[in-house]
Amino acid sequence: MNKSRVFKILPLLTVLLAGVMSFAPALAQDNTLVFWGGLIFSESANNALVARAQQWGEENGVAVEVVMINQNETVQTVSAAIEAGTMPDVVDLGRDFMLLLSNQEQLVALNDLYAEIGEAHGGWLESANSLVTSDDFGGNVYGIPYATNGNVLFRRNDLLEPAGFPDAPETWEQLGEMARAINDPPNVYSMSFALSNVGDGNLTTTMLQSWGGRIANDEGTDCTIDSEETRAFLTWITTAYADGLFPPGATTWDGAGDNTAYQSGQAGFIANPGSVRNYLVENDPELADATLYSALPAGPAMRISPVSTVVRSIPATSQKQEWAAELIKYLADDDFTAEYYSTAIYGPALQNHVEAPIFSESAVHAGLLDLALNGTPGAFPDVTNAAFAEYQTNFLTPRMVQRIVVDGLSIDDAVAETQAACQDIYDKYK
């Protein structure tokens, strides 16, 4: 090709390419609503959610692009999307992450939608309501709850009953006694609770609070971990660790560590949202029959059964906020939600959904319903705020336990170190 022709064609091609590139996304997205759904440990539930969202699209002439996001990776995925300006139109979030995002003005206030959906489905359960309308949100609602969640205590009745413990433990100390009675390493490690830097590891914060320890003061402004109650809790848990009640690996488990341990029959107790039950029913009915469920035990000070919520939010960058709101309404349908809950591992958030058959058919779902109705919301007795959320995402309580059982730090030193790290976090929000 002649060079002068090349010089003429190149700019033309460049302009054409630039034009296509700038218009292509607009053309592709013009009629498309992007929904990032929360991926959970239930293929049936995930498929049902995708099908329902696409059904709404078909009925309304909208192309719905559903991307299921692993809930353990929501923070990374959404953070990257915010920075890149590629947020979807609807996104499923955990309540604490919603709080952090709303503080950054990344979400749309959904007050009217919240009221409308509540009214249409018998009203919001108090647990879900208190979690999304707390003072931290400045009088606005930034997420529509689609379920509540929390941990239920799983126990091996086939081991405990012969050992003389037919009933659920009332207190953590009682659980410790029961665990000692059935501990049989390397076959069974009775207290299979995560002590690692994952969400499951934050069960130790619940334990600490039930001992009377507090992460922060009543105002939620200063850290108060350094207390005798914290030391008493640490003494209990580190003694249990030293006695070999925790499985090897508990300090580095990933999010599925307790699932794997229980499913392999090598755990006595676990605290789990319910996914293990789904696995057992399908793959190990014998172990499923040998398992009983109850609420988390009480500590010397109180019983803490944290209940949280998962929500659907609309990012502030969405250009299709009306469609997004319509989709959220459509997904709150009573019949669909009952079908979704039958294979998901959630408790209800709306009054009408309490009646879903699964909550009377399955023991673990009954536990989740109990949690939704009677659980302690959010960070209780601590103040649920962004500082507490950051404390939890930094896994400071399980790390405090690790410093003692792994690094051999004294309880006093571990408490002092954690108090300092915690105060650094709370200071950022003053």
């Binding site: 090897p248 580095t252 341990a261 170190e417």
Partner: protein
């Protein structure tokens, strides 16, 4: 030629560009997409990361300039101190083992051994396997309950209770190092092997005639012949290993406690709370080290050219 035609003839205007200039411009035009890509995908994020490390930026907000505050706060954190220590230990150990293993196996595969092609292909397998699959497999092998290593150790009577490879402070780092070496050594072997094959055979023959034994031939012929490759591979691999995230994250998540906490994992934890200013400071704090390494590689490669 008619008179009209001659009258209509316009003398050709002198070309605005001569041939060489036109060639240059065409060349620049051809490479410009690549240059733009590099500027957008490499230079911009690099400068952006440095810039935000000096701010209190949280995801979704611009943040305020806070000078060296993030860096000062970092130095006070036990996690950061642990990550410096661990990164140095991990990188030094992994690189040393890979160097020894790489040289040894490359020398072996450079000999006329039976099934040489098969062994050369086999050695590439760990490297060809996706990192995620490789390290999850290692995690299963290390597992205290049901893990292959524990099964073997117990059945051979070498231990009586399960060995907790990944959750014991003393064993976690060596376990990560072993898995990382396994995944990374093929690159070294293949690079060294390729370099060894370019060493003239006559040099070996002359050395042999002079009475040099195998060790002396390796020391005086092979090593000098491949020293540039050894240096470049070592430096590139050091940068890769220092930035390596999958091995530590998938095996231990930086634990137990801070026993295997390294820079990339620490930066990842920083992102959990959306504080990208702080997280960037962790990554950028390694920049001087990388800059020196990259400079050495660049100078070395330039000299080789």
């Amino acid at each position: 030629m008619t008179q009209e035609a001659i009258a209509g003839f316009q003398p050709r205007r002198p070309a605005r560009f001569n041939f060489q200039q036109s060639e240059s411009i065409l060349g620049y035009l051809m490479v410009s997409p690549l240059v733009i890509c590099i500027l957008l995908l490499v230079v911009y994020p690099f400068i952006f990361a440095i810039q935000i490390s000096f701010t209190d930026r949280v995801v979704g907000s611009d943040g305020q300039f806070i000078g060296f505050t993030n860096y000062i706060n970092l130095t006070k954190k036990p996690d950061f101190q642990a990550s410096i220590r661990n990164t140095i230990v991990m990188v030094t150990a992994i690189q040393t083992i890979k160097l020894g293993l790489g040289l040894g196996l490359a020398t072996l595969l450079n000999q006329q051994i039976r099934g040489r092609q098969f062994w050369r292909g086999l050695i590439l397998l760990p490297w060809a396997m996706p990192a995620f699959v490789a390290f999850i497999t290692w995690k299963l092998l290390y597992a205290p309950q049901g893990g292959a290593f524990n099964y073997i150790l117990i059945n051979l009577g070498l231990v009586t209770t399960h060995v907790d490879f990944l959750s014991t402070k003393e064993l976690a780092m060596p376990s990560v190092i072993v898995a990382s070496v396994w995944r990374g050594f093929p690159f070294w072997v293949i690079s060294f092997l390729a370099a060894m094959q370019s060493v003239p055979r006559e040099l070996y023959e002359s050395a042999a005639l002079d009475g040099a034994n195998a060790w002396k031939r390796f020391l005086n012929v092979t090593l000098p012949g491949i020293r540039h490759v050894v240096l470049v591979v070592s430096l590139i691999s050091t940068i890769q290993t220092t930035n390596s995230f999958e091995a530590v994250w998938l095996l231990t998540g930086g634990g137990p406690s801070n026993a295997t906490m390294t820079f990339p994992v620490l930066a990842y934890y920083g992102l959990q709370s959306l504080r990208i200013g702080e997280a960037s400071a962790v990554s950028v704090s390694l920049l001087p080290v990388f800059a020196v390494l990259a400079l050495i590689v660049a100078v070395r490669l330039q000299k080789d050219d």
